[in-house]
Symmetry: D2
Subunit: 251 residues, 4 copies
C-alpha cells in the first residue's frame, strides 16, 4: 500500500521565499513548482528543480492564470485557445529547468483559481489538456477525482492521477466543502493526521455530515504555505509510514 | 553570394499587433520572436511560429530583460545567475511553439537594452551564453561583430552569426553611431536600399564621416515597427535580389 | 443641440504608441486615458494628460482589470472589495497627471472586459462605484444606457453619462450586437458617419433588423485603434458640425 | 530626546503577506508602504493605510523601480523623466488610500535598488525629487544622511529626514558596509538593541573597524521581513523607551 505526497513549491518571487522549499522537499515525493504566472521567478524555478531532482522528488508544472498580482486566485475568462497557449508556455519554461537538473518534467497540476475552475468548466479543462498536448509530452494530470480536466485528459489519452486533501472537509458526494463555507479547512493537526491515514489505508474519510465517503486518491496534497505547515507535513508523513504506508511518487 | 534577412516579430501583446508579422514573414529568412518578457504573449508566439515554419523562415528567440512596461528598453543590473535563468526560461517557452509548429528553435538574438548592454558588458554577456547552455541546445547567437556576447559565445563553442544594420550610421571603427546622436538612424529609403546592397555585395559601407568601413555581416537586420517598414523591407529585398544576392537563412 | 466625442487614448506601452493620440486629441472632447492596468505607462499618462489639458479636452480614467498581457480583454472574477481598490488605485495614479497638467480628472470610463461585465454584473458594478467613492471625488461614470454600473452610480449619487457607438450594430431593445456575432461592427465609413449624425440629431438609429431604436446618448464613442480611425473620426466630427451639432464636452 | 521608528510594510501580494503588518504597526511610528511596483497590491495598500491611520502611524510611499518579479532589488537605467513619472504614479496611487483612511501621505522613502542608487546617482536622485514635485505635495524624503537624493530634495526645498540602520555595520566615514561584504548585517539581537540605543542617545555608533562614528538620525529603520523581526523590533522599542527616548513620528 502506498501513496504519493505532493505540495506547492517555489512560490517565491524576487528572493522572497513563501514556502520552506528545502524542508518540504524532504517530505514530499512530488513537487508542484510555480512557473512564473502566479508566482515563481526563473531562478527560483531552477533552484527548486535542482533540489527536487537531487532528492528524487518528481517535478510537476503548477500552471496558472497569468495573474502575479492576484497570486492566481482570481478566475479568468481566458479564451480556450489562449489558455492552451499559456499552459504550453509555462510547461516549456519549467521543462528547461527540469532538464537542466538532469531529469524530466513528470506531470502537470493546475494552480488556484484555474484548478477550481476546471473541476467543472469543460471548455477551460479542454484548453488545459490542449496546452499539454501542444508541448508534445504525454504528461499526467494531477487533479480532483471526477473533475472535468480528468475527463478531458482521459479523452486525450493522457494519464490521470487523483488527489485528496487531508486538511479539507468533504461533502457526502465526495466533493470538497468550498472554502467560503465554515469548517471548509481543518486546522486541528491531530484531525489532519488521522484523516490522512484513514484516506490512504481505508480509502475513505468522514464527511462534515458524518457519513463515510470513499476517497480513492493516488496522491495526498500537503499545504506548505501556512504557519506550522512543515511540521504538520512531517507528522503526516511519519503517521503514514507508521501505518505501514509506502511513501512513493505516482510516476 | 548570399545574405540572411532578420527582423523582430511577434511584438504584439493581448491582441494588439505592433508589427505586420504576416507581411514581414514573406521577406525575411530569420524571425526574431519576442518571448513574453518585453512583448509577445503565448498566443502571438504560437501564431508567429506557425507562420514562420510554414514559410521556412528560421525562428529565433528574442530574449529580453523582464520589462513589459518599458518594452525592454531599460538596462537592468540583473545578477548574472538570474539573467542566465531568465534567458533559459524564455528560450524554453518559445521552443514549445517552434516544436509545435514542426520545427526547432534555430538561434538567439537578444533584444533592446540587453542587446546593447552585452556588446560591452562581459558579465551579462557570459550570463546570456550561460542561459543558452542551460537549455542544452547549441544555439547560434546573432549579434554585433566584435561584441562581448560573441566572444563569450565563441568561448563556449556556440556558433556566432554577425549582423549589420542598413538603416543605422556607422563610425569609422565599425561600431554604430548611438541613437542619441543626430544622424544615427538613416530614414531616406533610397539610402537604406543603396547601403544594404553595398554592405552585402562589397562587404563595406560609408561611415558618417565618409570613410569606407568593412562590414562583414551574415545577416542584415530590417526594422518592422516603423511606418513604411514593410514597404522598405520589400524594396531592400528586391534590390538585393536584383544585385544577384541570394536571400537565404544563415542556418 | 450638442454631443461629446470620446475615444480611448494613451494605450501605448514602453514607447510604443497604439493610438495616434495627438491627432485624436484634435477631434474628441473627452479622452479616456489608460491607467497602467491594461495599457499605458506613467510617461504616456503624463504626456497625454498634458496634451489633453492644453486643448481643453476632458480627462477620464479608463480603469481596467489588471491584465497587461491580455490588454484587459479577459473578464476576471475579482472579489468586489479588491476590484474597488484596483479602481481607486488607477484613479489616484491618473489624477496626479491630470493635476500636474493644471486640470482635474473629469470622469471614469471602464475599459474592455470590465466595461462589458458591469453592463449586467451588479456586484462588480457596485465595486467600480465603490472604487470611485473611495477616491473622495464625485466623478461621473461614462457608460452604456441602462447598464448596471449606471444604476449603481445613480444609487450612490454619482453623475452618469450615456454613450452610443457609431460603429456598432444595435438590437431592437437598444443593446449592442455582441462582437462575436456577424455584423456587430460596422466597417463602412459612410454608414458610420450617417449613423453618427442620425444618433445625435434624431436620437435614434436603425437596428440590424431594420427597426428604429431610440439611442439617447450624451457622448459618442470613436475608436482610435483601427486603420483609418483618425480619418474616420475627423469625418464623423465634420459631418456632425455640418449638421449643426455642437461638439462639446459633457462636463 | 526622541526618535522615529520606520519599517517597510504592506509588501504582500495577492493575499500572501510578507511582513507581519499588524504587529509592526504597534511598534513603528512611520510605515513605508509598498505601492505596487516591487510589491503591494491595492487591497494591501488600503488595509495597511487604514491600520496605520487608526494607530496614528505616519504613512510613507515606498516607491520603487517597476520590477515585481525582482522585488525592486535590481537597479534599472530608467531615463530620468520616466523615473519621475513612475514615482509620481506610485505616490498618487497610495495617496488615495491614505486619504480614504482619513489621513494624508506624510513622506516618501524609496525602496531597495532605487534607494541605494540615489545615494550617489545625481540624475536618478533628481528624478525622484521631480516625481515628488509633480504630485504637488511637499513631501519629506526619508533617506541616508549625505545622500544625493537628500541634496536634490534640499535644493528643491523639500524637507529631508535622515535615518540610521540598527542592524547594519558602518564604515568609519559613516557609510554602510555593502551587503556583499561579510559582516554587513548584524544578526545578534543584543548587538542590534545596544546599537539602537547608542545611536539615539549618543548620536554615534561603533564602526566595523572600531572607531566611533557620528550617526545623527531622526529615524531608525527596523526590518520586518526576517524571522524574529517582530520580536526584535519590540525589544529595540522597549530598550529605547527604557533609556528615556521618546518614540515619536518625525512629522
Amino acid at each position: 500500500q502506498g501513496v504519493d505526497l505532493n505540495a506547492d513549491l517555489g512560490e517565491g518571487l524576487g528572493g522572497r521565499q513563501l514556502t520552506d522549499d528545502e524542508a518540504l522537499l524532504t517530505m514530499v515525493t512530488s513537487a508542484n513548482i510555480a512557473c512564473g504566472f502566479h508566482a515563481g521567478d526563473p531562478s527560483t524555478m531552477r533552484r527548486v528543480c535542482a533540489l527536487a531532482a537531487a532528492r528524487g522528488v518528481r517535478i510537476g508544472a503548477q500552471v496558472s492564470y497569468h495573474d502575479l498580482v492576484g497570486f492566481g486566485r482570481r478566475p479568468m475568462e481566458v479564451p480556450p485557445r489562449e489558455l492552451a497557449d499559456e499552459v504550453a508556455y509555462q510547461i516549456g519554461a519549467l521543462r528547461v529547468f527540469a532538464q537542466a537538473a538532469g531529469t524530466e518534467l513528470a506531470y502537470v497540476k493546475p494552480h488556484g483559481a484555474l484548478y477550481n475552475r476546471i473541476v467543472w468548466d469543460e471548455s477551460q479543462a479542454d484548453a488545459v489538456v490542449d496546452g499539454i498536448l501542444l508541448t508534445g509530452a504525454d504528461l499526467p494530470v494531477l487533479g480532483l477525482p471526477g473533475s472535468a480536466v480528468h475527463r478531458a485528459a482521459a479523452a486525450a489519452r493522457l494519464p490521470i492521477v487523483t488527489e485528496a486533501f487531508a486538511d479539507r472537509a468533504y461533502r457526502p458526494d465526495g466533493t470538497l466543502v468550498p472554502r467560503t463555507e465554515p469548517g471548509a479547512v481543518i486546522s486541528d493537526p491531530e484531525q489532519v493526521i488521522k484523516r490522512s491515514v484513514m484516506m490512504v489505508t481505508e480509502g475513505s474519510v468522514f464527511a462534515a455530515t458524518g457519513q463515510r465517503v470513499p476517497v480513492a486518491a493516488e496522491s495526498l496534497c500537503l499545504h506548505g504555505d501556512t504557519p506550522g505547515a512543515v511540521e504538520l507535513a512531517a507528522r503526516v508523513r511519519e503517521a503514514l509510514i507508521g501505518a505501514g504506508v509506502d511513501i512513493r511518487p505516482f510516476v
